[in-house]
């Protein structure tokens, strides 16, 4: 075990774990976060997605020792009690069924819109293709993303 320092959702944490521990288990079990969840442990489904350095990464296959810079989880999207526009759009579109995978859907969508605020439908499909959902909420998830993409004024406003 060794002490690892992490910045997650604006706060600094120190955890005493094996450096090879996947980030997912540190977020869930040491920092008590609930957004990222275990889905496959293989980086195939996106349920564990967090954002690091502007990219959506799979925390289930990212050793905690490989973390560089700020990590944002689903919990870190809302600011000052106000939901992120994507989260609001998710509620407006009632995008979830069971909701277990929605962390991956929302975080993947956030990374997409941060780099491309006005994606075409084809770009949305392509960027979201790795975000699996077994309730098959894809149609509404895409609608929720379009809702935000249409309402976006300029890059960087959405934080």
């Amino acid at each position: 075990m060794s002490i690892v320092k992490l910045r997650v959702n604006g706060a600094t944490h120190e955890v005493d774990v094996e450096p090879s521990t996947p980030l997912l288990y540190v977020l869930r079990n040491d920092l008590d976060l609930r957004g990222p969840r275990f889905g496959c442990g293989l980086g195939q489904c996106s349920v564990c997605t967090v954002i690091m350095g502007g990219a959506a990464i799979r925390s289930c296959i990212t050793p905690v020792s490989a973390v560089r810079g700020e990590v944002t989880t689903l919990e870190g999207l809302s600011k000052h009690g106000k939901l992120h526009p994507l989260q609001e759009a998710w509620i407006e579109e009632q995008a979830a069924q069971c909701g277990y995978c929605q962390n991956g859907q929302i975080m993947t969508a956030k990374a997409l819109l941060d780099r491309n605020p006005h994606p075409s439908d084809a770009e949305i499909r392509e960027a979201m293709d790795g975000a699996l959902c077994r309730c098959m909420t894809f149609y509404r998830v895409q609608a929720a993303i379009r809702r935000v993409a249409r309402g976006t004024k300029a890059t960087g406003e959405r934080q």
């Binding site: 521990t21 889905g39 442990g41 069924q97 979201m128």
Partner: protein, 793 residues
Amino acid sequence: MSNPLELPPELEDALAGLNQPSRRGFLAGSGALAITLSLSALPGARALAQAPLAAAGPYPDPDFLKLDTWIVIHPDNTATFYVGKTDGGQGTGTAFRQMMCDELDIAFDKTRLVMGRTDITPDQGGSGGSTSVERDGRPMRRVAAEARRVLLDLGGQHLATPVEMLAVANATIFVKSDPGRTVTYAELIGGKRFNIPLTGSRIDLTAGQAAVKPVTDLRVVGQSHKRYDIPAKVDGSLRWAVDMKLPRMVHARNVRPPYAGAALQGIDETSVRDLPGFIRVVSRGNYVAVICEREEQAIRAARQLKAHWQRPTVAPFPASGELFDYMRRATPTSTSEPRVEGDPEAAFKVAARVIEAEFEVPFQGHSSIGPAHALADPSDGQMTIYTNDMKAYSHRTGVAKFLGMPREQVRVVYMDGPQVYGRTAADDAGFEAAFLANELGRPVRMQWMRDEEAGWDTKGPAHVFKLRGALDERGKLVALEYDACSADYNHLWYNESDTVLIAQLMGIRPAKPAKGSVESPTTMYSIPNQRTTTRIVGMPLIWETPLRTGNLRDPNGPQVTFAFESFIDELAAAAQADPIQFRLDMLEQGKEDDVFRKSRSLAVVRAAAKLYGWDPRPSPKSQPSASGDQMLAGRGVAYTYRGNTIVAVIAEVEVNRETGRVWTKRLVCAHDCGLVINPEALHHTVECGMLHGLSRALWEEVQFDTEKVTSVNWASYPSLRHSDTPETIDIALVNGDPNPGRPDLAPYGAGECSHKPLIAALANAIHDATGVRLRRAPFRSERVLSALQAQSA
């Protein structure tokens, strides 16, 4: 958040936790007032929510014949409803609240709902079979109506006014002629017991003296209330079963036999003993698990554990490539008596044309996005299991029996989890966690890994079908033979202590394996002469097998409907008839039944055709060999019913001739489930049900060699993705009842019906586009391409 009165989930948890002892005392009639907490009294709610629920048992069954079991009115004039159901994400919880609010005359946002807690909610069995609203919503409505009646009586006394002169709005009773004279529900009974007995020989028959409102008076029902559970699911605040943590909790992972039917010969514990956090290896029979302090440690230890297994002497099953040949040859474990209507033999003899076809559907998996998980707490000699088991009540009974504990000492706390659809009808992980917690004397959290979930979850049974149809000289279907074979022997039922996976691996067996099931088509077509035969077969290995069958969303429906509605399409094509007109003709000649399925079927098929903009013509669209286009477009219809709910789906596809890829551009669905409780939530459930069917049509197939499942992750078990999603989905909610405005119009189940006809609709659309008839699901690109090549060859 949408509403300040909507309790954040952690406060809800804390409330439920803190209320726990008093809630049971309350139900036991101790006379104590229910403890209610204002939000301001809960500054440390998050910390409180982390604390275990009060552990002291026993946990007697809540008495469904007491009004207090179902409804509590709080001093702040809000209400909590307690129901014995679970919500797998279709919004049934929201629907229950809407139905109960309407009968009680209280605003939706002034209520809360507690579900699936075996110690404080009455046993309605949890979820399954699309029965939540249709069957189990009835007692909810009746008890809420009874509460309103009792409150009106009390209000009449309080206001010294006859009840007939009173009315209620928003949980406040007022004198009709003098609306300033009011009394609230809270003033009458807030925090106190109703002490009103109910009647009913079964929980779904529970009733008080009051009648429910006529449908025409319902105000909350029929509104598209936003689902109350979604905000906490998108901001990360919801505590799911997977998130439960307790002091002294440890983590477990299973070590499964590497080959089906393998026998454990020995374990080399030194292979893991020195790993960090290692606590114990537990094994009994062929069941093996490793327990460690931390989760990643348990995962590592389970992978690293050296165990010696002996292969079985007989191959447990054929490889998936040989499955259908095996099924055709296998001696059935049971065979139905042939069901004959009319004289099919004679009709076939004089037929103008006879068509024959065989259809095949492989095993398909639940492959839940979140592998099985549960936390079991053995504190104080009791057992509490935190789980997403859709059937929390049988889980409690099953675990008690499995551990040899009195039922009263076991309770199950249902919490949200990944999709249910039958997978958690027997929650293996809860049994495993409870067994290990009992062994260790500490709370144990169990979670399966991906390969384990895909490999060892319950499977929807594989099917082979043979159909034969006779057309007369006018192209009318005069006789049909339907023969179905399902690989469903030893089907897993609900949380039985001798059939869950851990029991099987320990060598525990019931006296007889479950027979399994095989179905006939559900249709209102008039077919004068019919012969129906069905049989069930088993694999050579029936216990401890990864090819365990269980309920998967309308357990045999999608398979049966694929074969039957594809075949109807083949007959229509042979008769050179428009596929919708061919179906309408058979429906029009059919007989009406007690829930008007004939009228409603006609209404639904017509509504789908209208919404789609269907232009009548026979299929296929053209001779594709004549066309040089790379993309071939077509449309296909399928119709069926599930229970009392009727559905017709039209799929519009594009088939790429060069790659074989099928893209469903548009889906149209007409759906009649009677009274609609929440139109938007219903729309979404119908949508997702169709897309789940589309996934089974295009992608899903469990693959195996002769000793293990080989489709064990999302690369080897592909599922529908964003790129497969239709551009447009249109849904018509139809009310085809001959008396659509009747005051007793009932709601019917909607969780599965739209899922059922998808494979058939896709096959029919692909045929329309290409002229190729696919009789073997799923329709992956390789299979479509080779069929196209065979056609042009």
